[in-house]
Structures are given as C-alpha cells and as structure tokens.
C-alpha cells in the first residue's frame, strides 16, 4: 500500500478493492495478432495452457470491448498508426502488454521497416521478453498485470486527476 492508499477513506478503499478485483479477474484481451507471437497467444488460449482459467478467454474482436491490448508481434512502421488507433479506440481503463522482443524493442529486426518497440507509440504496462515468449511466459506477464491492477486505486486516481485539473 502506498501512502496515499492509507489516507484513502474506508468506503472508497472498499470500492477500489471491488473495482480492481473485477478488473483483474475479467481482463478481456483484444484479439490482435501481429506476427509469430499471435500463434503462441492462441496456444495460450488452447487446451494445454487455457487462459480461460483467469477469465481471459473472451478474445474480443472489437477494441471497444477489450481491456488489455496484447501487442503480439512485430509492429512495423506501416502498422504503427493502426496499432495506435486501435489503442485509442479501446475504452478506459485499458492496459497494454508488449509480448515478445519485437514489441518490446524491435527484436531481431533493426531495419527500416520495423518500429523499435511499441512503447514509442503507446504506453506499455507489462513487457514480456522472448521470441516468441512461451505460453507460460505470456501467462506470467498477464498475472503480473493482474497483480499490478490489484495494487491500483481506481477511485483515488480519479480524485487525483480532478485535483490536478483544478490546479
């Protein structure tokens, strides 16, 4: 708990707990496969690794209904505006997982066509290394994201934002 969390009123703290509990247990990924990593993402959803245990199997086809954008694969310069736009189309609160070395840093492609890391265009919450990461790796990344969400204070952040606005 951060210091601001301790100052949090009890009721709001409980509400925060509820919200972050629901958010972390219902991370609907955006079914966006860019390259090789997408196959491992599908393998994660398949029988052996079964992402649905965490309530994450509802891969949404529309960014409007998704919570977490798993950038699974190489983001090329041609694709970058599209990725940025898809991210903008997602409703808040939203998270981004950069899956694989290409999304993290351009991976093995230091070329004219590849964006050297997706964090140049959208903010990334969790980075998963690997080329491609194994399904275990992806699950680890998503659980890391869950823990990150569990530590968040959604309502407090709203107040903070309002406070910043009045400044």
């Amino acid at each position: 708990m951060t210091e601001s969390g301790e100052r949090h009123p009890f009721l709001l703290a409980k509400l925060d707990e509820l919200i972050s509990w629901s958010q972390k247990n219902s991370l609907w990924p955006f079914g966006s496969g860019l390259a090789c990593c997408a196959i491992e993402m599908i393998a994660t959803a398949a029988a052996k690794y079964d992402i649905s245990r965490f309530g994450m199997e509802l891969f949404r086809a529309s960014p409007r209904q998704a919570d977490v954008f798993i950038v699974a694969g190489t983001v090329t310069n041609k694709m970058a505006p599209v990725v940025r736009r898809l991210w903008e189309q997602m409703p808040d609160p939203k998270w981004v997982v950069a899956m694989g070395n290409c999304a993290v840093s351009g991976g093995p492609f230091p070329t004219y066509a590849v964006l050297q890391g997706v964090d140049k265009i959208i903010p990334v919450d969790v980075y998963i290394a690997g080329c491609p990461p194994t399904p275990q790796g992806l699950l680890h990344g998503l659980i890391t994201l869950q823990n990150q969400i569990a530590r968040s204070h959604p309502t407090l952040e709203i107040f903070d934002r309002d406070a910043r606005r009045t400044d």
Binding site: N77, K78, A80, A113, L115, K120
Partner: protein, 209 residues
C-alpha cells in the same frame, strides 16, 4: 548431389531450341543439373518467355528475383563460379548477337568463364525462374538493366509475375512497362527510397514514425 543422377536432356533440349530460335537475344547461358540459367537481351524478354511458355512447355513462373549489382559494378569481375554464370551483373555481357553454343553444350563444371569484358556491367538484374511440370526442370532467364532503364512487364505472359514485379518495383524502383497495376506492395506509398538497393542503409533513412 542429386542433380547429377537426374536426366538433364529436357533442359538441354529446351535450351537448344531457345538458342536456335533467338540467336540474337541469348547472351549467355549455363546449366547446373536440371537448372539452366540464360541471360537474354532486355528488349527480348517477352518473346523469349512467350516461346518458353507456349512452345517449350515451361508452364509455370516460379518467381521473379531482382538484384542490385552496385557493389560489383566498378571492378566488373568475370563470373568464375563453378556452377553458375557468376555474379550476374559483374559477368560481362556478350556483344549482342553472339551465340553461345560452346557454353551451352558444356557439362556443368566447365562453364562459367565465358568471355572477356566488353560491355560495361549494368546496375540491376532481373531473374525469371521458370518451371516445367511435370518433367520437373527449371530454367532461369535473366536480363540486365542500367539504372532508370525500364523492362517490359511479363504479366501478359505469366500472370504469376504480377505481385513479384510489384515487389521488385517496391524494393528496387525498377519500372515495368505495361504492368497493369504498378504500385508499392509492401511499403507505404509515401516511403522514400528503395530498400533493397545496396546504397540504402538497413536502418532506413528517416527512421520510425
């Protein structure tokens, strides 16, 4: 390798017919096993391919390859590879009209050292990889062209060349006259430069969005 055990007759036959039919156009030739590589004049690519397709039975175009010979331009080394006609662009062109019986009839290992340089080597080469089904033999036709020189599109002969030529246009900036839809295929339209040219840096010129 396996090629040694394979009957090369169909390829040799095809080449002889080609040479008889187009004595003017065929500049250079060699074959390795069932693979024949022939260099022809840029202007004659359409009739040559049309002949190969309709009369010699090469019913399928496997691929079209573009090559930038920039690095080998200044020296102009003669091709000395055992199983090929050497670095294509570097291999000096024969004077137009000279036939190549000698090389064509030679067995695999002895060909290559064709002629002395007489014509300046050109910047780009385009290779057309043909395949004959069901005899399973290949032939590679190539043309050389200087910078900014166009070449006739072979789409009217082999439709399979459509995207391959667009790709070469995208990567090398070579103009294919008569191509139905010559646009960039991979890179965005506003991209500057042609990445597979040797003078284009790997990281790109501008870098990033």
């Amino acid at each position: 390798m396996l090629d040694g055990q394979i009957d090369v007759a169909p390829v040799a036959q095809a080449f002889e017919r080609l040479r008889d039919r187009f004595p003017e156009s065929v500049l250079d030739a060699s074959y390795a096993g069932r693979e024949l590589a022939v260099r022809v004049r840029r202007e004659d690519i359409i009739p040559v391919l049309r002949f190969l397709k309709h009369e010699a039975g090469f019913n399928s175009l496997t691929d079209v390859v573009g090559i930038d010979n920039l690095k080998s331009l200044p020296t102009g080394r003669a091709g000395d590879a055992p199983a090929s006609r050497g670095a294509a662009g570097a291999a000096p062109s024969l004077p137009a009209g000279r036939t190549v019986e000698a090389t064509a009839a030679l067995p695999v290992s002895q060909k290559g050292e064709t002629t002395a340089a007489s014509e300046p080597p050109k910047r780009f080469s385009i290779l057309y990889q043909l395949y004959r089904f069901p005899e399973a033999c290949r032939i590679r036709i190539s043309v050389d062209l200087a910078e900014a020189e166009p070449v006739d599109s072979v789409v009217p002969v082999y439709r399979a060349a459509d995207w391959a030529e667009r790709e070469i246009f995208d990567m090398f900036g070579i103009d294919f006259t008569g191509h139905p839809d010559l646009r960039r295929i991979y890179l965005p339209d506003e991209f500057e430069g042609f990445p597979l040219r040797k003078d284009f840096p790997l990281e790109g010129k501008t870098g990033g969005v």
